[in-house]
């Protein structure tokens, strides 16, 4: 009896390995961990985009209240899909959204896009050579970071935000942060 069990051992080992390989194949290699979770927002200071030449966007703007930092670009198709929902959020006035205009080919393209479709952002900074994007560990647009009252990154949302993601993930997180923190 014991010998027969020993014969089954290779099969058992194979099944275990096959299980992990099969699971590995289901994972999305594009989903990277959020290295900033629970850490202070990386330091950045971006110049304004055209037509907004009063003020850009810097990491020092973030402490004080819960906010979203949205990385976008006029070249980014998924951002176009996400954009109407960001406009809705702006109207609801639930949380300020700040924009990092990432890798525009010319300085005119980002502002033209906002002009054409609407501007959901409180503050916008221009990031033509990925300075802030790399500091945030961004790999594609759109990516959105939830930052708490103390300027600590609490969540990274990869891909367009929609009503479902907002209701199920972001808004509950924001409410919890506001309940636990003082300001914001």
């Amino acid at each position: 009896m014991q010998k027969r069990l020993l014969f089954l051992l290779p099969l058992a080992v194979f099944l275990v390995i096959a299980f992990y390989f099969a699971r590995g194949l289901q994972l999305d290699p594009r989903k990277l961990p959020n290295m900033l979770d629970g850490k202070q927002v990386p330091a950045f200071a971006l110049p304004p985009i055209l037509d907004r030449d009063d003020y850009g966007f810097a990491s020092t703007d973030l402490p004080g209240g819960v906010s979203l930092v949205n990385i976008w670009g006029s070249w980014c198709v998924a951002c176009r899909i996400e954009h109407p929902f960001l406009m809705q959020l702006k109207e609801r006035n639930q949380v300020p959204i700040h924009g990092i205009d990432w890798r525009e080919k010319t300085p005119e393209e980002g502002p033209a896009w906002l002009e054409k479709f609407g501007d959901p952002y409180a503050l916008v900074g221009d990031d033509p050579v990925s300075k802030a994007a790399i500091a945030f560990g961004v790999t594609g647009a759109p990516e959105t970071f939830l930052v708490d009252q103390k300027g600590v990154v609490r969540h990274k949302q990869v891909g367009p935000i929609d009503a479902k993601i907002w209701d199920e993930i972001l808004w509950p997180l924001i409410e919890t942060l506001r309940r636990n923190g003082s300001a914001g």
Binding site: R30, L32, P33, M35, L36, S130, I134, F136, G137, T139
Partner: protein, 156 residues
């Protein structure tokens, strides 16, 4: 002959190309060599199976520039790599580091080979013991020989 020479010439210039653009190259050849070496170990996060040194993606370009800027600012090789890892995680390293989470990855094959060797050893040892046991009883007894002869006779 001319065609052959032309083909040979074309083959000669077809060295593997790198994505590093002339404008990115540093003036200091020592720093540039270091930058190239670091870049070859960092994964391009857009194409994923290329290093940033070989990728034409814009994010890879910006990362190459960042690596060079940090080297020029006086960072050591490991400091530069650590910075990129702090932003993107271990996945950005084309050669994964040896630590608790990657132990199975690094030690797995060696452990499996070792187990296989042990299993083979046990198999052959047992086989030898079995063969030795068998050798003792290979010769037939007188009684058996007679029965065998009788059986063979019956057949014919």
């Amino acid at each position: 002959m001319r065609k052959f020479l032309l083909a040979a010439a074309v083959l000669l210039i077809a060295f593997p190309s790198f994505a590093v653009e002339p404008s990115e190259v540093l003036d200091d050849p020592v720093l540039e060599t270091r930058a190239r070496k670091i870049s070859q170990g960092l994964r391009c996060l857009v194409c994923q199976n290329q290093s940033i040194d070989g990728s034409a993606a814009v994010l890879a370009r910006d990362l190459r520039v960042l690596v060079r800027e940090r080297l020029v600012a006086g960072d050591g090789d490991q400091e530069v790599i650590d910075y990129v890892v702090s932003r993107y995680g271990d996945f950005v390293l084309l050669k994964p580091p040896f630590k608790a989470a990657t132990f199975v990855l690094w030690a797995g094959p060696a452990v499996l080979i070792l187990l296989g060797l042990i299993a083979t050893l046990i198999f052959f040892r047992r086989n030898r013991a079995y063969a030795a046991e068998e050798a003792v009883v290979t010769s037939l007894t007188e009684d058996e020989k007679r029965r065998l002869a009788a059986l063979l006779e019956d057949e014919t």
